[in-house]
């Protein structure tokens, strides 16, 4: 059984994101980039499934510029067996990503495609669902627990009302939520080994999918600056102030 794990290169979770001065996007020059944390959790889960003897191969893939290979190498160092890189310098929106991933699915025939539930840069939360629809296979999203038994995955999902448990037939698309696991650290000797693992490049154009943008971004702007706090002299003044604002 193969598991395909798509990972996205995003601005690191700990970085304070800045909008470019011309409003054309967010600053990524000289900014720390990492694997999208939800994708990292998906990869960790896939590796644990393999380590438990329930999968033979974990393949990481990414769509984007040459720089994505840094994150793919990290994925290989974590323990993935090989990597696929769909090369493009253009913006890739969820539908285009799902179409490209479908081509990789047709090529690799995985039992599970395990993605993060969303990427922390655009917060779309669409790619996994769209891929399941295009692939015409079941989906179990926001997984906080995954059990595999032969051709069936039992997935606990975090939903508004609590926890929901689904059984899905494989092949299927799974997406990870935050509490599924805690990803491992990369060991230095494994980085050395990762350099010898196969990384295949495929130009996006070669996949023959419509990758054009469906949405147009018109502007980027930072959130408005928070007004400074004010010190009040007494509790009474605070009460009056809240009443004036209609909050009491």
């Amino acid at each position: 059984m193969k598991i395909l794990v798509p990972i996205k290169r995003v601005v690191d979770y700990n970085v304070r994101v800045r909008v470019k001065s011309d409003g054309s996007g967010v600053e990524t020059e000289g900014v720390k980039m990492s694997i999208n944390p939800f994708d990292e959790i998906a990869l960790e889960e896939a590796l644990r499934i393999k380590e438990a003897g329930k999968a033979e191969e974990v393949i990481v893939c990414s769509i984007g510029s040459k720089d994505c290979q840094q994150q793919l190498r990290t994925g290989l160092a974590m323990g993935a067996d090989r990597a696929l890189h769909v090369l493009t310098d253009d913006e890739v929106q969820p539908l285009a990503a799902a179409r490209a991933l479908l081509k990789l699915v047709e090529k690799e025939d995985p039992k599970i495609v395990f993605l993060g539930k969303q990427a922390i840069d655009d917060d779309c939360n669409q790619t996994g669902q769209m891929l399941a629809a295009l692939w015409q296979r079941p989906q179990a999203t926001f997984a906080s627990k995954v059990d595999l038994d032969g051709e069936i995955a039992t997935v606990t999902r975090e939903v508004d009302a609590g926890l929901e448990t689904l059984e899905v037939d494989l092949p299927a698309v799974l997406t990870s939520d935050l509490r599924l696991n805690e990803p491992r650290f990369v060991k230095l000797p494994d980085i050395m080994k990762a350099k010898r693992k196969p990384l295949e490049e495929i130009a996006l154009a070669e996949l023959g999918v419509d990758a054009g943008p469906a949405l147009e971004t018109t502007a980027f702007e930072p959130p408005p600056k928070r007004a400074g706090g004010r010190m009040l002299e007494s509790v009474q003044e605070l009460v009056d102030e809240l009443k004036n604002k209609g909050l009491l």
Binding site: S34, P189, I191
Partner: protein, 456 residues
Amino acid sequence: MSRPEGIEFVDDDASRMHYGRDWTRFWTPAPHSIAFPRSTEEVVALVAWARDEGRALVPSGGRTGLSGGAVAADGEVVVAFDRMRDVLELDPAEPSIRVQAGVAVGEVQRRAAEAGFDYPVDWSAADSSQVGGSVATNAGGIRVLRYGMTRDWVRGLTVVTGRGEVLALNRGLIKNNAGLDLRHLMIGSEGILGLITEVTLGLTDAPPERSVLLLAFSGLDAVMPAFQALRAGLSLSAFEFFDAASVQAVAAAGDRTFPLEAIAPFHAVVEFDDPDGSAQDAALAVFEQLVDAGRVVDGLVSQSGSQADELWHWREAISESITPRTPYKNDVSVRVSRVPAFLEALDELVGRQYPDFEVVWFGHIGDGNLHMNVLRPEAWSVEDFREACNRLTPAVFELVGRFGGSLSAEHGVGLLKRDYLASIKSADEIALMRAIKQVFDPDGILNPGKLLTVER
């Protein structure tokens, strides 16, 4: 007792306990009361009043000190700077920041970052400690290797002396060769010469992205060669080492699992500039070389900011995790090249005198600074333990003296090491220090008994 008008005072028991001590737990807090001035003028009024009343003043910042410098155990009035928390100016041209003494060091770091700069002096307690205290103790911390100590960043100070004079020292200038620089006399003076009310700190450019290594060493003798190799191959901003006992303490306190498979005798957290992820290759090359030489047995490298934070935690949480064991702390330094021999000799000394004591080692090693923490065995009372440690102290400091080191690398002298100052400073030096104290504080009202004994 009359009190100066308009200044807030409290004297309830809980406040007296809270404001009467720092992170040491050897002295029972017993201040008279706590004053909360809001301005330099109010500090001047406090000093005038204290002189009239013959009342001792103990300046108090975040009280995260480890030498008893801010302890008030003898009926003193604590001068807390908690109401002096204004950031007055951030000058992007120099760049510099001017703040009141009570601003937290962590706040300075945040303000600097928001403006696209960096205040690089950093330590575990940065969010609790105050700028005034950091200057009075010349605090160091985890990036001294790259950026030096607090002293290197102080551009200006406003100080109220024990005679009530207000000195505006160096006034924020970068270059100012005009005679004796009293600013530097105030830095590290532990509150015995004046009360710092306002500070101008230099800032630097925002740091590049950094990655963090966690290394496991085969033994103590591997640490210095590894430091040298890493220093040659990477642009290091920190090299912090700690022993197996440190790891166990942090793991137990926070219910965490150490990310390496096995706990080695010694580890280091190594931080290096890694602007576009390319320095990881260089790190890897040094790592391979160290593994081949048998010095390093295992290692990890952070792949994200949160992983870097997690690795740092294993160093930063040590001090707090061992606090419940009332550690007997030694903050010693020797020349970098002498660190391994010194550490071995010190370890041997403690092991010989008190074989049952558990010793936790950690420190900055890259700048020659070691923190030796002897933990109180659970069965011992604090008093018995302290007494045993006191018997150990002269031998430790004798060893420090023999290695040409310092008994206080960064924590200061305070009450804890006052009586041992003579082991590393000559009688002439101490006599001059006393004379200087006399000039700035003729009535002896400022933090009496700290750093220097009171001559009666």
